[in-house]
Every structure is written in structure tokens, then in C-alpha cells.
């Protein structure tokens, strides 16, 4: 076996992942190319585009040696992978948000709460620290609708800019976590392909540090 198989997340992180791979000198990949092909060969490596939640699955099972995925996905995944590097892009926060006119938005936390979320495991961890009577309702999209329709009292969801929340008249009540893109690796691959996996980690970490320094400057 020569090259690495690397899982990239489809969606909002794909462009950032391709950018970082390019600036790290690892691969020149055009994100648009993944609209036509699900897997792209580059030098000896193979890049596959999969759903973000599937990245840890491919990596844990050894179908890919490495993957790039948001920390928010790892919060929800029980897949055992090595998390090698914070890649410094794809910033977003996991926040508890409630309708502007609700009691909780005014800082009065009720005894019991119905929370709609795409992040049930994170929700359980977040509320475990607070002795509250919480019913978690797992949805797969458009959680902002849940308070409007009376399905839930509030939502626990990812936000990058806060615009979608504001547009739906939701205000942030608490921050449950902050997420960025991460490089993950298969357990055995880290041991048996240490040069290749370690080399990729070093290159991406260095490129991410350069970008963060540029961003700060």
C-alpha cells in the first residue's frame, strides 16, 4: 500500500479543507471537482468526499487512514479515532438558544425543558452538569422551527454567524462548546503508517499555524 486514503467532509468544511491541503503543499484539489466525482486521486493519495458524520466511521473502520472533520461531529460520534490536530478553520459554536420573549432568554431557567437538537449526545452532556428535567428531541434539520411550532422550548444547535438564529427570533442563552475542523487518524494507521500520517499531520498543523498567525496579524 502506498498512499493514504483521506476522508473529506462534504458541505461547509470542504472548501476550507481543500484550501488548507493546498497551502500545506499536500494536494491541489478543486472543491468543485467533488461535485462530479466522489473520489479524487492525487499523487499516490485518494481523497473521498463523504457526509461529515460519516468521516469518523470511514476512519475508525480503516477504510480511510485519515479524515478531516468538525469537532462538532466528533462530539456526537462514539467512533475511536486519534484526533491529531486542530486545523483552525470552520469555526462554529454549539449554543443553547431560545425565543427572544421566553423566560429562559431572560435568564430564568425553568424546572423542565424540551430541547430540539441535531446533537443529542452533546445535549445530554451539557445538561448532565445541570440538574434539570430535560427532554431531548432529536431532529435532523431546521431545528429553529421547533420553538416556533411548539415542538420544543429551545434549541441546542451549531451557529457560525448567529444570523439564522436571529432570523428566527432566537437568542443565545448559553454556549455549550466551540468547534473547529480537526485532523483524525485511524488507530492502526497511526502506528503502521506513522511516516505518512505523521507527515500529513505536521504539514497541516504548520499550515494552520501560519494561517492563524496571518489572521492575527
Amino acid at each position: 500500500m502506498k498512499g493514504l486514503r483521506i476522508a473529506l467532509p462534504g458541505g461547509t468544511l470542504l472548501e476550507g479543507a481543500c484550501d488548507l491541503l493546498r497551502s500545506a503543499g499536500v494536494a491541489r484539489l478543486d472543491p468543485a471537482r467533488f461535485e462530479r466525482e466522489l473520489s479524487v486521486h492525487h499523487d499516490d493519495d485518494i481523497y473521498v468526499k463523504v457526509r461529515p458524520t460519516d468521516v469518523p466511521v470511514y476512519v475508525e473502520m480503516g477504510a480511510c487512514e485519515c479524515g478531516i472533520v468538525g469537532k462538532d461531529v466528533l462530539w456526537e460520534s462514539d467512533r475511536e479515532c486519534y484526533e491529531l490536530a486542530d486545523l483552525g478553520f470552520g469555526h462554529c459554536r454549539l449554543v443553547l438558544a431560545a425565543p427572544r420573549d421566553s423566560a429562559i432568554a431572560r435568564g430564568q431557567w425553568p424546572q423542565s425543558l424540551r430541547v430540539a437538537t441535531k446533537y443529542p449526545a452533546s445535549a445530554r452532556r451539557f445538561f448532565a452538569a445541570r440538574s434539570m428535567n430535560v427532554v431531548v428531541i432529536q431532529l435532523h434539520g431546521s431545528v429553529e422551527l421547533a420553538p416556533q411550532t411548539g415542538l420544543a422550548d429551545c434549541v441546542l444547535d451549531i451557529t457560525a454567524t448567529g444570523r439564522t438564529m436571529a432570523a428566527n427570533d432566537l437568542v443565545e442563552v448559553a454556549v455549550a462548546g466551540a468547534s473547529t475542523a480537526r485532523l483524525i487518524a485511524n488507530h492502526a494507521a497511526l502506528k503502521t503508517r506513522n511516516d505518512a500520517v505523521g507527515g500529513l499531520a505536521t504539514a497541516l498543523r504548520r499550515a494552520a499555524a501560519v494561517r492563524m498567525a496571518e489572521g492575527a496579524a
Partner: protein
């Protein structure tokens, strides 16, 4: 075309529990042969084969394994109300036996086992709920020669089983905790780093260390974690700039262990891995994992666990390992290293030829051929016995004058 509407209203599993698999004829046989190869190797190194129950009291298991493993047990209650569980691993059972029935020795005691283990894995995760483990335990020996023997035996068993391209990673369970302690990391910060390492979250390790007063050399060593691997030379690199007796002792033990592994002539398959992350509550000394370039999972793992037996009232040093038969078998199937069973030869016969056909089958089996006689007359086998007792290839082909020549003809079919 049958559309999605044609899905039955509920899953029909035809009587098999979800998450379990049937091993059908060919793969079941090669899996058993692989297990046999492991056990035969263990026995040839003087490890006595023993069998422990599939079920243990929950208390027994809880004395040995941590919370995460306990929560993945299949549990139930017997008629007396005792909580029982299907075993999720078998070292604890062996430890229980040794601490109770074999506590008088003679030591060192070499034991091996093979059997199913069960884990209540989530459905549809692609993970096995039932898998086969074969392992060895070497009890009552403190010296590193015992650890080296286990590493060499694990490698030997895998190779005898036909598992290719193996790589053994040897680490030390006390190196990282000792490093943290001698660096003055205490309480919450220490636990945070160890927990992050256990989760294999190196990003969290880095941020946890950033908030500590740790010396640069030690911080660099911990952050270089995934790359702290190689031959004996990495021990010198690691030792420079390292304070504290505990991590230094771990490094000295690894150096001695490396020389012993060298004496077993397997250093070409072994790497030292100072960043090895293992269960720190369970392991007390050298640990190892076996990988293959052909599998994304560890094929085997082991290490020294000197405190386990004291939990059963008989303090005894112990070291051992387990091989994951199904993972090994999977990787061999993927690489085409599994050889199928030989085809079953068929002996057909005409009226009155049955007795002769059975005699031919007996003679063939004596030569280790795999054959079966037709149950009804008039078939068309690899060798046919006519009504007059004549032996021939099917459909009046080549005639075989003697039983021996017919057996030889069968043998050529089976090759």
C-alpha cells in the same frame, strides 16, 4: 420493480439476534483453523489450555474491568437474583481461577484459552457483538523475560496462523503517568491530560498542557507523542532532559525488554512506542499491541497487570495478551491469505457397488483425503464404482485396476 413499499412492515431476522452473525461452512472452517494454529503455538510454548465459563457474576467482572467495558456487557439475572454477565474478555476469568484454585502454583504458571466474548455494541455500527479471542496469561513472574516471552509468543502465533506484515508496538503503562507526576502535574490537570490521552484526543492534550507550569522538555516530549516511536535509540532521545525516577525507570525497563526481544530475534517486527495509550488503571508495566498493514484495528494486545490478582485476594504478578481471531481472519480474507477448504470428493456407485465404494472412501480418508459416498446409486462422482465392482472415472472414463490407483486418482482431484 418492487419499490420501497415492498419492505416488510417489520424486520424479519429469521430467528437470529440482531448484531450477530452465522459463520458459514468455508469461513467457519478457516476461522477454526486459525484459532487452532494460535492454540497449538501457545501449547508448544508450554502454555496449558484451559476453559472458563461464558458467564461470570457481574461482581467478578467488575473487579477486573473498568466502567466503559462494564457498561458494554450483556447482563441478566438468574433465578436467585444474582446479576450475571456474558464475558466481554477472558483475562479476568483466568485471574479468578488462578487467585482461587491455582493459588499454590507451581509458578510461573503458563495458561492459554480461546473462546467467544460478547459486547453489547450499538447496532449498525459495523462492530461485532460476539467475537472470538485467544490468549495467554503468564502468572507469578515479575521479570521482564516474562513480558518478552509474551510478545514473542504473540508474534509467533500470528505468523504460524498466516497473518502477514505484523508490527508489534511496545510501550510502558507507567511512562506517561510517571512523566506527568514527576513534572509536578497534579490533581485536575493530571487527570485531564490522562483522560484526553485515553480518548486519543491530542488536541485536548495540547490545550491541557498549555495551561500548566510544565518544563519545556517534558511538554515537548508529551506533544511529540505520536512520533515517539522507533528502535532502542528513541529511549536515549526520550531520557535526555527528563527528570524524575518513575519515567526513567520505565525507560530502563523498556531498554532491558528490548534486549530480551532482541534475544528472541524479533526486533525487525517490533517498535518501541512511548506514546502508547492503554488502560492505565489495569496495566502496570510494559504493554504491547500488534498491528498489520492489512487491518485498521489492533489484531492483538497485552501487557503486565500486577494488581489484578490482588483484587481476588491473591497478589501475584502477571502478564499476558489476547489475539482477536475475527480481526485476524478478516484481514486474511481481505488479502486473500485464507486458503479455502479442499473440495469434497464424491464417490458414486451402481447397484451392489456400495460396499466397495465405502471401502474406497475409507482408504482415501486414511490418506487424509476429504470424501463422501453418494447416498443413492447411479450418481456421477469423481470415482464411480460399477455394479461389478469396477472402479473408473465418471461416465465410463479411465479404469482404475486397484483400490490404490483409484485413491491416487482421487488425490489428484483434491490438489
Amino acid at each position: 420493480m418492487r419499490g420501497p413499499d415492498a419492505l416488510p412492515p417489520q424486520a424479519i431476522n429469521h430467528g437470529r439476534a440482531d448484531g450477530f452473525v452465522d459463520h458459514l461452512v468455508g469461513p467457519a472452517a478457516s476461522r477454526r483453523r486459525l484459532t487452532d494454529a494460535f492454540i497449538e503455538t501457545f501449547e508448544s510454548w508450554g502454555f496449558g489450555f484451559m476453559v472458563t465459563p461464558l458467564i461470570e457474576p457481574l461482581d467478578t467482572i467488575a473487579a477486573g474491568v473498568g466502567g466503559a467495558q462494564q457498561s458494554a456487557l450483556f447482563r441478566f439475572m438468574d433465578s436467585d437474583g444474582e446479576l450475571l454477565a456474558l464475558v466481554g474478555e477472558r483475562t479476568v476469568s483466568v485471574a479468578r481461577v488462578v487467585a482461587t484454585q491455582l493459588r499454590e502454583g507451581p509458578f510461573p504458571l503458563r495458561l492459554c484459552y480461546a473462546g467467544p466474548v460478547l459486547r453489547n455494541q450499538p447496532l449498525n455500527a459495523g462492530r461485532r457483538r460476539e467475537s472470538l479471542q485467544a490468549g495467554c496469561e503468564l502468572l507469578g513472574a515479575t521479570g521482564l523475560a516474562a513480558d518478552a516471552e509474551c510478545i514473542a509468543l504473540a508474534a509467533a502465533a500470528l505468523e504460524r496462523g498466516g497473518v502477514e506484515h505484523i508490527q508489534v508496538d511496545v510501550g510502558h503503562a507507567d511512562f506517561i503517568p510517571g512523566l506527568l507526576d514527576s513534572a509536578g502535574l497534579e490533581g485536575g490537570a493530571r487527570d485531564e491530560v490522562l483522560a484526553a490521552l485515553a480518548r486519543r484526543d491530542l488536541v485536548a492534550v495540547e490545550s491541557a498542557l498549555a495551561n500548566t507550569e510544565m518544563a519545556d522538555a517534558e511538554r515537548r516530549l508529551l506533544l511529540a507523542f505520536p512520533t515517539l516511536r522507533g528502535g532502542r535509540e528513541i529511549l536515549d532521545t526520550a531520557a535526555s532532559g527528563l527528570r524524575g525516577e518513575r519515567p526513567q525507570r520505565a525507560l530502563r525497563e523498556l531498554a532491558e525488554l528490548w534486549d530480551l526481544i532482541d534475544a528472541h530475534a524479533i526486533t525487525d517486527r517490533v517498535q518501541l512506542d512511548l506514546g502508547a495509550v492503554r488502560d492505565w488503571d489495569y496495566y502496570t508495566g510494559p504493554t504491547f499491541e500488534v498491528f498489520s498493514a492489512d487491518s485498521g484495528f489492533a489484531l492483538g494486545s497485552g501487557g503486565r497487570y500486577d494488581t489484578l490478582l490482588s483484587r481476588f485476594g491473591s497478589p501475584l504478578p502477571a502478564t499476558g495478551f489476547v489475539l482477536h481471531v475475527d480481526r485476524c481472519h478478516d484481514s486474511m480474507v481481505r488479502t486473500g491469505a485464507i486458503h479455502g477448504s479442499p473440495p469434497v470428493l464424491r464417490i458414486s456407485w451402481d447397484e451392489h457397488g456400495y460396499t466397495e465404494a465405502l471401502a474406497l472412501a475409507r482408504a482415501a480418508r486414511e490418506r487424509s483425503l476429504v470424501c463422501a459416498c453418494d447416498l443413492l446409486e447411479g450418481g456421477d462422482g469423481d470415482v464411480h464404482v460399477s455394479a461389478s465392482g469396477r472402479l473408473s472415472a465418471p461416465q465410463g472414463g479411465t479404469e482404475y485396476p486397484t483400490l490404490d490407483s483409484a485413491v491416487s486418482a482421487l488425490a489428484s482431484h483434491q490438489q
